[in-house]
C-alpha cells in the first residue's frame, strides 16, 4: 500500500490514520476511489477545489473512459 504524505503540518501518523479512515469510508460508501485517486482529490481539495465540481469531473472522466474502452472492445470484436 502506498504511503501518501499529506501536505499538512500534523504528525505523519495522524495524517496517515486520517487518510486510512477516509479510505475506509470511501470503501464503505462505494465511491470506487483507489488510494492514489483519493490522495489526488485530497490535494485538490486542499488547493481549494470545490468537492462537488471535482466529483462531477471524476464521474465524467470515468464515463468517458468506459465509453472509450467499450468502443475499443467492439472494434476488436469486429476485427
Amino acid at each position: 500500500m502506498e504511503e501518501v504524505t499529506m501536505s499538512a503540518k500534523g504528525s505523519g501518523m495522524t495524517a496517515k490514520e486520517t487518510f486510512q479512515t477516509l479510505m475506509e469510508m470511501s470503501k464503505l460508501l462505494n465511491t470506487g476511489l483507489d488510494e492514489t485517486t483519493l490522495a489526488l482529490c485530497v490535494r485538490l481539495c486542499e488547493c481549494g477545489a470545490n468537492p462537488e465540481s471535482l466529483a462531477k469531473v471524476i464521474v465524467e472522466l470515468r464515463r468517458e473512459v468506459a465509453a472509450l474502452n467499450m468502443d475499443k472492445n467492439q472494434t476488436k470484436q469486429g476485427q
Partner: protein, 901 residues
C-alpha cells in the same frame, strides 16, 4: 495562481484515471475539461450541516436495510474522521467537510454494494462477513418472537467454534472434514430438524440422531433438545387447544385455569363419588364458552356446546362446564340462551325461504323479510364486535359481561319472535290479502302493546318496512291512476267486469274486501279483524281518488298532449307516498320527544347522511347524465351505454335505500299512540289527494266535457224550465194524439231537435224520441173497469184535490198510464258520471226543494193535459227512471256550479 496549483494535480488525475498520455489529444481535452470545471464552476460552497444530514441519512438507510454493522462503522469512522487533530490547524477551512462531501457525491448505491470482497483482505473480510451475517441474523432474530433467540444461540455457538478453528482452516483435512464438513452438513440438517422440531408431533429421536452423528457436535445435539423443549412450551402457551376433540379437552384445559374455583371442584368431586355412571364433565375455559355462544347466535346450529334433541329443539350438551361454575349453574345460565337460539333459527329460516321462493310469498311478506334482514344484520354486527373484543382480550370479558351485552338483543329477539309467529299464523291456503293484512295487524298490535321503548322501536321499523308494499300500491293508484296488485294482497280489488264507461262504474268498480276474515283462514277457525285500524277510515277516500284518477286517465287518454298524461304534480315535488309517510312519522316522533332526543335523532341522521355523501354525489352526476340523454332524446345512446344511463334502477335503489335508512334511523323515546301517529302521517296525504283529484276531475269535466252546459240543457229540456221550447213540442204531440195520427219516432225526433236547436243548437242533435206502442186489448178492458185505480206516485195529491173531479182524474191518470203509448226521450250523455259525481265532490248539500218543484211541474203537466183533453198522453222520459235521485244530483251539481261561479 489557482490555475498553477490545479494544473499538475489535474494532469496526474487524468493520467491516473484515463491512462492518457500528455501528448494525446484526448488528454488535452480532458485537461481543458477538468480545469474549466474546477475553475469556473457554479457549485455552492460546502455546507457542513447538509453534509451532516446526508451522512445521518445514509446511516439511517443502512439501518433500514438491515446493515446495522455498516451503519455503525460509518458512524464511527465519521466521528473519528471529524475528531482527527489533523484538521485543527489546517490551512483550508472545513477541509474535512469538503472531503466528506466529495465522498458523498461519489458514493454509488452503498446499500446494495456488499462490502468486503476477498481480494482486499480475506481474513478481515471473512471475519466481517461472519460477524455481519450473524449480526444481521441477530437483528432479525430480535425482530421475531422466540424463533430469533433460539437461532441466535445456535449461530453464536457455531461462530465461536469457527473462531477457534480459524487457524486450522489450512491445516488437517480430517479435522476439517470432521469439523467443517459435517459442520456444514449439520448446519443445514440442524436447520431442517429445527424447523421440524417446532411442529407439535416430532419425535426427539431425529434430533438426537443429528446430534450423535457428529462426534464433535455434541453441543449441537444439546441445543436441539433445548430448542425442542422451548418450541413445545411456546406452542403450548400460544396455540389454542382443540377443545372440541375429546383427547385434548381434558388434558390442556386445566393449564388455562390458573385460579380454579376450589369450591366447585370440591362439589364436583363429591358428586363424582355419588354418580359413578355419569361421565366426567369436560372443563373448558370461560373464554371458549363465550366464543361458542357468539358463534351459535350468529349461526344457530349444532356445535360443541349445544345440540338438538329429537324434536329439533336446541339443548345444551350435558357434560360441559367451566371451572368457575358447577355444572348445574352453568346449565341454568345457558338455558336462558337456548330459546333465543331456537327463535333465531326460525327467523333465519323464514328469511332464507323468502329469498329463495319469491313468488310463493306475498310482497308484504317479502318487505317484512327485508326488515327482518336489516335487523339481523345489525345483530350480527354487534356479535362480531363482541367477538373482536373477546379476541383482543384487552378488557375483562366474562360470562356476566356477555350476558349484559346480549340482554337487550335477546329481548328484541323475543319480541320479534312473538310478533313473527302471530303474523304468520295464517294457514298457507289463505288468500294473499288475508296473509298480508293479518301480518300488518299483528305487527301493529304488538307495536301498540309493547312495554319498553326499545321493543317499540324495533317493531316500528319492522312494521314500516312491511307496510311499504301497501304504500307503493296506494302511491301508484292514487298518483298515476294505475292500480297494480299482482298478488291480490291489497284491501281493495278492482272489479274487472266493470269498465270506466260502464254505468255501474261508480258503484262497483272497486270492491273493498271484507275486513273481517271468516273463511277459516286461521288454524283455530275463528274469524278475526285483519285490517290495520288506521287504514279503515281512508279506504273510502282511497276508492274515490282511485276512481277519479282512473276516470281522468280514460278521459284524457285521447287528448295526450306533448307533455304527456296529466299527473299529479305533488308526486314530482314531494317524492313517493312511502317517503312522505315515513318522513311524516319521523317528524311526529321527533316532535313528540324531548329536545335532547331531537338532537340525538338529528345527529344520527347527520351521521347517516354523511356516510352516503359520496353515493349522493355519484347519483347526482348520473342524474345529470340521464337528464342530458333525455334532452337529446336519443334512444340509441341510452341503449349503447346502459351502465352510464342505467339510472332508473339506481334511483329506485337509492330511494329505497334512503327510505330504509330513514326507517332504520327512527327511534321512539317516549310512550306514544302509534295509531294516532300513523293516522296523522297518512290521512292528510290521502285526503289532500282526494281534494286534488276531485278538483282536477271537476275542472276536466267542466272545461273539456262542458258539464255545465249539459246540465243546463237537462234542466231546460227535461225538467222543462225552457217552457217555450218544449211547449211547441208538447203541443204538436197533443195535436197528433187528438187527431189520432200515427206517432212515429222519427217525426217526433226531428221535431224535438228542431225545437231544441233554437235555444241549444250545439246539443239538439243529441236528442231522440222512441215510441213503444201498447196492445189494443188493454185499452178496451180498462175502459170498462169500474174499480178505483191506484194513485200514481208522481201525482201531487195536494194539487189534485184542488179539483173536485179528483176521482175522475185518478182514473184518467191510471188509464192513460197503462193504455197510451210509451214515448221516451233519449239524451246519451255520461249518465253514470253525473249520477254519482256528487260522491266525488265535497260539500254536496241535498236539495229537496228542487225535487219537489220538479214533481210539481210534472203534476201540473198531467193536470194541464187532463184539462185540455180527456185523452192525454203521459210522457215517460227515459230520465224519469231515476227521477228523484237524478233530480237531486243534477240540482245539487248546478247549485255547486253557481256557487263556485
Amino acid at each position: 495562481m489557482t490555475y498553477r496549483k490545479y494544473e499538475p494535480l489535474a494532469k496526474e488525475l487524468i493520467t491516473h484515471l484515463s491512462g492518457f498520455k500528455e501528448d494525446e489529444e484526448n488528454f488535452f481535452r480532458c485537461e481543458q475539461y477538468v480545469l474549466s470545471n474546477l475553475l469556473y464552476h457554479h457549485c455552492l460552497d460546502v455546507n457542513s450541516h447538509a453534509v451532516r444530514r446526508s451522512l445521518d441519512g445514509l446511516i439511517l438507510k443502512f439501518c433500514v436495510h438491515g446493515q446495522h454493522n455498516r451503519a455503525e462503522n460509518l458512524k464511527k469512522l465519521t466521528q473519528r474522521f471529524l475528531k482527527s487533530p489533523f484538521f485543527k490547524d489546517h490551512t483550508v477551512l472545513d477541509i474535512q467537510w469538503s472531503l466528506l462531501s466529495l465522498l458523498l457525491h461519489l458514493s454509488n448505491n452503498p446499500t446494495k454494494f456488499l462490502q468486503g470482497s476477498p481480494q482486499d483482505n480475506p481474513h478481515e473480510v471473512i471475519e466481517v462477513d461472519l460477524a455481519s451475517s450473524y449480526a444481521v441474523q441477530e437483528d432479525e432474530v430480535k425482530e421475531d418472537f422466540d424463533w430469533g433467540a433460539y437461532l441466535k444461540e445456535d449461530n453464536e455457538e457455531l461462530s465461536s467454534r469457527k473462531d477457534e478453528s480459524l487457524s486450522d482452516w489450512s491445516s488437517d483435512e480430517e479435522d476439517e472434514g470432521n469439523v467443517f464438513g459435517p459442520l456444514s452438513i449439520s448446519r443445514t440438517q440442524s436447520d431442517v430438524s429445527q424447523c421440524t422440531l417446532l411442529l407439535p408431533a416430532v419425535p426427539e429421536g431425529e434430533t438426537s440422531k443429528t446430534g450423535l452423528a457428529h462426534g464433535g457436535a455434541s453441543t449441537v445435539g444439546t441445543v436441539t433438545k433445548e430448542s425442542s423443549h422451548r418450541a413445545q412450551s411456546w406452542l403450548e402457551a400460544n396455540l389454542q387447544p382443540r377443545f372440541w376433540c375429546e383427547k385434548d379437552s381434558g388434558a390442556t384445559s386445566m393449564q388455562f385455569n390458573k385460579d380454579p374455583n376450589m369450591v366447585s371442584k370440591l362439589w364436583e368431586e363429591n358428586q363424582k363419588w355419588h354418580a359413578v355412571d355419569k361421565p366426567a364433565p369436560k372443563l373448558v375455559s370461560e373464554w371458549v364458552v363465550m366464543r361458542e355462544i357468539l358463534w351459535v347466535l350468529m349461526k344457530p346450529a349444532e356445535s360443541f356446546l349445544i345440540t338438538k334433541d329429537t324434536n329439533g329443539v336446541f339443548i345444551m350438551r350435558s357434560n360441559i362446564t367451566i371451572s368457575s361454575l358447577v355444572q348445574n349453574a352453568f346449565r341454568s345460565y345457558l338455558s336462558t340462551i337456548m330459546p333465543t337460539v331456537q327463535k333465531l333459527e326460525e327467523i333465519n329460516k323464514f328469511i332464507k325461504r323468502t329469498n329463495h321462493e319469491i313468488y310463493n310469498f306475498p310482497s308484504t311478506y317479502l318487505s317484512y323479510a327485508q326488515g327482518l334482514n336489516l335487523w339481523s344484520q345489525k345483530f350480527l354486527e354487534h356479535l362480531s364486535k363482541l367477538e373482536k373484543d373477546l379476541k383482543a382480550q384487552e378488557k375483562t370479558c366474562t360470562l356476566l359481561w356477555l350476558n349484559k351485552e346480549l340482554k337487550p338483543w335477546i329481548n328484541d329477539v323475543a319480541v320479534i319472535y312473538a310478533a313473527h309467529m302471530e303474523g304468520l299464523s295464517v294457514i298457507d291456503t289463505a288468500p294473499n290479502w288475508t296473509k298480508a293484512t293479518w301480518l300488518l295487524r299483528a305487527l301493529f298490535e304488538h307495536l301498540s302493546s309493547a312495554g319498553d321503548m326499545k321493543s317499540q322501536t324495533v317493531l316500528l321499523r319492522l312494521f314500516l318496512h312491511s307496510l311499504r308494499y301497501y304504500l307503493s300500491i296506494i302511491h301508484n293508484w292514487q298518483y298515476n291512476g294505475n292500480f297494480q296488485d299482482d298478488k291480490d294482497e291489497f284491501l281493495v280489488k278492482r272489479n274487472k267486469d266493470v269498465s270506466v264507461g260502464d254505468e255501474n262504474y261508480w258503484k262497483s268498480a272497486y270492491i273493498i274486501k271484507n275486513v273481517k276474515c271468516s273463511d277459516g283462514c286461521f288454524p283455530d277457525q275463528h274469524s278475526r279483524k285483519t285490517v290495520v285500524p288506521f287504514l279503515v277510515p281512508i279506504l273510502k277516500s282511497l276508492v274515490v281518488v282511485g276512481k277519479n284518477r282512473e276516470l281522468m286517465a280514460s278521459l284524457t287518454s285521447h287528448q295526450v298532449s306533448k307533455k304527456g298524461i296529466v299527473k299529479n304534480p305533488s308526486k314530482d315535488d314531494k317524492g313517493s307516498l312511502e317517503q312522505q309517510f315515513v318522513e311524516n312519522v319521523q317528524k311526529l316522533l321527533v316532535e313528540a320527544s324531548d329536545s335532547k332526543q331531537e338532537q340525538i335523532v338529528d345527529k344520527t341522521e347527520v351521521m347517516e347522511n354523511e356516510g352516503s355523501v359520496q353515493d349522493k354525489i355519484v347519483c347526482e352526476v348520473q342524474d345529470r347524465l340521464h337528464s342530458l340523454a333525455l334532452q337529446l332524446d336519443d334512444t340509441y345512446l341510452l341503449e349503447t351505454h346502459p351502465s352510464t344511463f342505467h339510472f332508473q334502477d339506481k334511483t329506485a335503489n337509492r330511494i329505497s335505500d334512503d327510505i330504509s335508512r330513514t326507517i332504520e334511523g327512527l327511534c321512539i323515546n317516549r310512550g306514544l299512540s302509534m295509531e294516532r301517529i300513523f293516522s296523522l302521517a297518512l290521512h292528510p296525504l290521502i285526503q289532500g289527494e282526494e281534494h286534488v283529484s276531485s278538483s282536477q276531475l271537476l275542472s276536466l269535466l267542466t272545461t273539456e266535457y262542458k258539464l255545465r252546459d249539459h246540465l243546463q240543457l237537462l234542466r231546460g229540456v227535461l225538467l222543462m224550465e225552457e217552457g217555450d221550447v218544449m211547449h211547441e213540442f208538447y203541443s204538436h204531440l197533443f195535436v197528433k194524439i187528438e187527431s189520432g195520427d200515427i206517432i212515429d219516432s222519427l217525426g217526433l225526433t226531428l221535431h224535438l231537435q228542431d225545437c231544441i236547436s233554437r235555444r241549444f243548437p250545439d246539443f239538439a242533435q243529441s236528442f231522440s224520441v222512441f215510441v213503444k206502442q201498447q196492445d189494443v186489448g188493454v185499452e178496451e178492458d180498462l175502459l170498462e173497469q169500474k174499480e178505483p185505480l191506484e194513485v200514481p206516485d208522481s201525482v201531487d195529491l195536494e194539487t189534485a184535490w184542488e179539483d173536485n173531479d179528483s176521482e175522475i182524474l185518478i182514473k184518467k191518470l191510471n188509464w192513460s198510464e197503462k193504455v197510451l203509448d210509451d214515448i221516451t226521450v233519449h239524451y246519451p250523455v255520461l249518465m253514470h258520471c253525473f249520477l254519482d259525481l256528487r260522491s266525488g265532490l265535497t260539500r254536496t248539500p241535498k236539495c229537496l226543494s228542487h225535487s219537489v218543484f220538479s214533481k210539481n211541474v210534472l203534476s201540473k203537466l198531467y193536470l194541464f193535459s187532463g184539462l185540455c183533453s180527456p185523452i192525454f198522453n203521459l210522457l215517460h222520459f227515459e230520465i224519469l227512471k231515476f227521477t228523484c235521485h237524478f233530480i237531486d244530483h243534477v240540482n245539487s251539481l248546478l247549485r255547486l256550479f253557481w256557487e263556485s261561479m
